[in-house]
């Protein structure tokens, strides 16, 4: 083991005079707290669950930043987009679909507000509507994908097809996961799981849903309109 704690003799003498006193710190050190002082226990500004969710969304944002970055590299360096022979993306239907998703964000917000005011029925109604709108979005996306595939747009159709299906597909998978989460929460809500006092699960689900909607509001102009 370690031996030889070198202490100046003068200091030892001082220490011997006041053996049990709490030490006096020199200026410049951390301001000590007086003996017996208990700092007040502070409630965290953001709860663990919400903070963890925010970190998860930061991870997701960077994941999509990578995919979107790849798309932009190809989009901005090409002279004609779509490349000759490739189909145009369906703008009109997707505007409609964007509207659906924005409406779902509103219904999600209403669901959260309802349970904050203690309304179980409002929560179940809002969650159901949100899940329905999300499913509609997925169904429209799916049918449009089938149409595009019939027009010859596949993963193998150069970078145009590859970036489209990868980027929009990854978003679609996230919407699907969010809809499944919504459905679970909806079933729980119908069984009276949540209350005015206890509805952290609703807030987390809302955060994720808002992320998925917000992400679409970035992807739609970048991929469809630009």
């Amino acid at each position: 083991m370690v031996q030889g704690i070198v202490t100046a003799p003068a200091l030892e003498e001082v220490a011997l005079q006041v053996p049990e006193m709490p030490p006096i710190l020199p200026p410049g050190s951390d301001n000590g707290d007086p003996p017996g002082w208990q700092p007040p226990r502070r409630e965290p500004v953001v709860s663990n669950a919400v903070l963890g969710m925010l970190m998860f969304l930061a991870f997701e944002t960077m994941f999509f930043a990578g995919l979107l970055g790849a798309f932009l590299v190809f989009r901005l360096s090409s002279t004609s987009w779509p490349p000759p022979g490739e189909p145009y993306l369906p703008i009109g239907v997707t505007w409609f679909n964007t509207g659906i998703l924005v409406a779902s964000a509103y219904s999600m917000r209403r669901a959260h507000r309802a349970i904050r005011d203690g309304s179980q029925a409002g929560l179940v109604h809002g969650l159901g509507l949100t899940a329905l709108l999300g499913t509609t979005f997925l169904a429209v996306q799916g049918s449009e994908w089938i149409r595009l595939a019939h027009h010859g747009l596949t993963l193998q159709s150069g970078t145009y097809g590859a970036t489209f299906y990868t980027l929009i597909g990854c978003h679609g998978v996230h919407v699907l996961a969010a809809v499944l989460w919504l459905a679970t929460v909806w079933v729980l809500a119908a069984r009276g799981w949540f209350s005015r006092e206890w509805h952290g699960g609703i807030q987390l689900c809302k955060m994720y849903w808002m992320f998925v909607v917000g992400l679409w509001l970035v992807l739609f102009p970048s991929v469809y309109l630009m």
């Binding site: 200026p27 951390d30 301001n31 944002t61 994941f63 990578g66 970078t159 990868t166």
Partner: protein
């Protein structure tokens, strides 16, 4: 965000109760057990990665001769003990991959992050214990998938750890089919694993500090792990997206990185290094944190410039996002852009130098105890200086264009990244008593340190000379070039040192295993250190603190306080405010009561 209903839904206080074997040792949610699991995973993979390096060194010293004792390895891995070129490519690829992702990261971040964060901030466990368990098990799954790559037809990934496309984007280019796929899948799994870890670390440090543990009373190792977690959280998903695209290129017929379909090979390099450079700091920041704690404790002096240390780590983390282009100077990038990357890279030398000089300032005038952790921490600092200085050479484009992809680069990054192993050993020797409740043998530790330090430099210092002499990185047989033949004795010298370096690690293994079973039981605070983990029993029980959480009264590095009998002052020991401060700030002694 401040929704009262959510705030009350935090984790309940862990009540101490008896758990069965499976819940205690295997599917444990206790941060200390998960830390130990990460330690064993990392040490095992360290041996695997080291063995791969030894095979590589044999080939470089005595090219295309049979490796003694390896005649049994079947074709196509080896031909009567001779390492064929495709196996050599797998060796250097997997050496780097395993060392970076499955040795250094599990030990420095997985083990010490998990073990130290709750103990040093005075919490009972992580914020999300179950997520923590899943993080380890998915990390292990990633490791198994990675190891499985050795046993699939075509061998393991052979495109370098950087996996540059298009080399890796088509099976025919390297002859590796499923090896590269498994490599991608494994790293995607690891990305998810480290995401869960990062979320846990960040949330725990932000929300679960003990009463009185303010941000600037956090030990620097916690600062480093916190910053590392943020880097990991934001950098790895970018790699994940690139890995997914590469996987699609290989298996679904996309052309993200394949020029024949309009793809862009440089896109891979940009995405990879946008992740890759922060990753380098992910590896080195915890090592810097460990070093700061060990140097202060064994110098019996406060760390010099505590806040400067914390802020310079933040600066390094920030700068790491804007320097990735320095890996790509020869990719044909616009010289103006290259200059911008050169300048941003050189700026990193400033916070790094602040840290180095603060370490020296900490040592200056201290009552230094040359215990084993201290020796390893000092070795980390000295190696880091060598690696850091050679980094400045490479940052300047005119020099880099000459030495790019030579052994100079190999020397540089081993001095920093393999130098981390010294901080890792420092951490293991320092915290082993707390992790396992027994002490490592000091004599064996010193016997382990000196040859490790000497042979480490014997391996990596001559590589600078090889690099300036023109020897290429990743070359299979240097003898095929006439101009490299005179350098061959250096290669033999390096290999001899590498074997000796590997050999002396047996001392560590012996020490580790023996001390684990029969080492001297450790008291609470064997090193007379201040930080909070030493206030808990060794090893700490489930829940860490018994009835009440510790209350923190001061900073982590109050050593050799004048007028004290002891030369250390634990953070949870109450103290009297200075009369000088009381005069200056009123009767509260200038203390912050908010």
């Amino acid at each position: 965000m401040a929704d009262p209903a959510v705030m009350t839904a935090g984790p309940a206080v862990h009540v101490h109760h008896e758990l069965g074997f499976w819940r205690t040792y295997i599917f444990s949610t206790d941060h200390k057990m998960i830390g130990r699991q990460f330690l064993f995973l990392g040490l095992f993979m360290l041996i695997v990665g080291g063995a791969l390096a030894m095979l590589m060194r044999w080939q470089l010293a005595w090219p295309e001769t049979a490796v003694p004792g390896f005649g049994w390895v079947p074709e196509p891995y080896m031909v009567e003990g001779i390492i064929p070129p495709n196996t050599y490519n797998s060796l250097f690829t997997m050496h780097a991959t395993i060392m970076i992702f499955f040795a250094v990261m599990p030990i420095m971040i997985g083990c010490f992050g998990n073990f130290l964060i709750p103990l040093m901030i005075g919490a009972r466990d992580m914020a999300f214990p179950v997520l923590n368990m899943v993080s380890f098990w998915s990390g292990l799954l990633g490791g198994l998938v990675m190891l499985a790559g050795f046993f699939v037809p075509g061998g393991h990934a052979a495109g370098g750890w950087t996996a540059y496309a298009p080399l890796t984007a088509k099976a025919i280019y390297t002859g590796v089919d499923w090896g590269q796929n498994l490599w991608n899948i494994s790293l995607i799994i690891l990305g998810v694993s480290s995401m869960m870890g990062s979320i846990n670390y960040i949330t725990t440090v932000v929300n679960m500090r003990a009463p009185g543990m303010t941000w600037f009373r956090l030990p620097l190792v916690i600062w480093s792990l916190f910053i590392t977690a943020i880097l990991l959280l934001l950098a790895l998903p970018v790699l994940t997206s690139a890995l997914a695209m590469l996987l699609f290129d290989r298996n679904l017929g996309t052309h993200f990185f394949l020029p024949e379909g309009g793809g862009e090979p440089l896109l891979w390099q940009h995405l990879f290094w946008f992740f890759g450079h922060p990753e380098v700091y992910v590896l080195v920041l915890p090592a810097m944190g460990v070093t700061s704690d060990v140097l202060s404790t064994f110098s019996r002096k406060p760390i010099f410039g505590y806040r400067a240390m914390a802020f310079s780590m933040i600066a390094i983390a920030f700068l790491s996002w804007i320097v990735w282009g320095h890996h790509m100077f020869i990719s044909g990038m616009n010289p103006l852009l290259g200059t911008a990357f050169m300048l941003s890279t050189m700026v990193i030398a400033v916070p790094s130098a602040i840290k180095t000089f603060n370490w020296l300032g900490t040592l200056w005038g201290g009552s230094i105890r040359f215990a084993t952790p201290m020796l390893f921490a000092l070795a980390f600092v000295s190696n880091f200086v060598i690696g850091g200085l050679s980094g400045i050479f490479m940052a300047s484009t005119p020099v880099d264009i000459f030495i790019h992809d030579t052994y100079y680069i190999v020397a540089h990054f081993h001095y920093v990244v393999a130098g981390i192993i010294f901080a890792m050993f420092a951490a293991i020797y320092y915290w082993f008593p707390k992790i396992f409740g027994r002490k490592l043998n000091e004599t064996l530790g010193k016997l382990h340190f000196w040859p490790t330090f000497i042979f480490f430099n014997g391996v990596f210092f001559p590589m600078h000379i090889l690099g300036v002499g023109g020897m290429m990185r990743r070359i299979y047989n240097p003898l095929q070039y006439e101009f490299l033949q005179p350098l061959q004795p250096i290669n033999v010298f390096i290999t001899a040192n590498a074997f000796l370096l590997g050999l002396v690690q047996i001392l560590f293994v012996v020490n580790f295993v023996w001390s684990l079973i029969a080492g001297k039981p450790s008291e609470r605070n064997p090193w007379q250190a201040n930080t909070l983990e030493w206030a808990a029993p060794s090893p700490p029980p489930h829940g860490n603190w018994g009835e009440a959480l510790p209350v923190v009264h001061g900073g982590p590095y109050e050593y050799s306080v004048p007028g004290m009998a002891e030369d250390y002052l634990p953070q949870n020991q109450s103290r009297r405010p200075s009369p000088t401060l009381a005069k200056r700030h009123g009767p509260s002694g200038g203390q912050v009561t908010a």
